[in-house]
Chain length 116, copies 2
Amino acid sequence: MYSSELIKGTLKTIVLSLLAKRGRMYGYEITQCVKEETDGKIQLTEGALYPLLHRLEAEGLLETEKENIGKRVRKYYRLTESGNAEASSLVAEFQAFSKTINDLLHPFLLKPSYYA
Amino acid sequence: MYSSELIKGTLKTIVLSLLAKRGRMYGYEITQCVKEETDGKIQLTEGALYPLLHRLEAEGLLETEKENIGKRVRKYYRLTESGNAEASSLVAEFQAFSKTINDLLHPFLLKPSYYA
DNA sequence: TTTGATACATAAGAAACTGATGTATATTTG
DNA sequence: CAAATATACATCAGTTTCTTATGTATCAAA
């Protein structure tokens, strides 16, 4: 499990890029998907995720549609056009940032072969 | 310039690893060094840095010594033993995290050759 | 039927940063 | 030489965002 500080810094990037990848997801599904795909190393809490989804919707980056599942209502989110642009932008930023940090920490770095 | 959220998430990592690399630095020097080495893409603010240095010292990760430069007092920081361990640990965590995120965002990723 | 999973939401408190302000010395520049 | 800029520390009100807990409700499984 990674520190919450690291996760905080990329929470928006994770959520938006996941939606870009999968098209349409609901909140609970996002938490489960991230947990599974990272082998439990990243676990989003609902208290952090739901308010974020609401903020992103308010900012016009996400759209929602409700769907009835039995007697329950499930809320699906998908990217708007600007949400899609933002997702790409955040992913590119993370990659550049990651490289910058690695350069900065250079003497600490393990050999590139490690990442192969 | 990277988003403050990304920087926040790695601020401690940056500061501790820089001290591990250079042995001994004072606050202002850290801001300038990070700015130069990242071509201005990461600019630490003093309002974020000084309180962090104080916290890290209080946690026993850093030690200080004051030095008189003319009539001014300069405060040098260096890692304690546990600070050194923490630096290594945070760098390793960042690298693993970075890989995890890249895997998660996979369809967005540029080819590994990009990073060579 | 009770436990755990699914699925949403909110809110008090905590943590950390932003941006401003303050103090003071040193250097550079017009 | 006066003013502006750089060096160098520090603090703080306000903001943002997360943590942790709580709340509601349905559904499946034991």
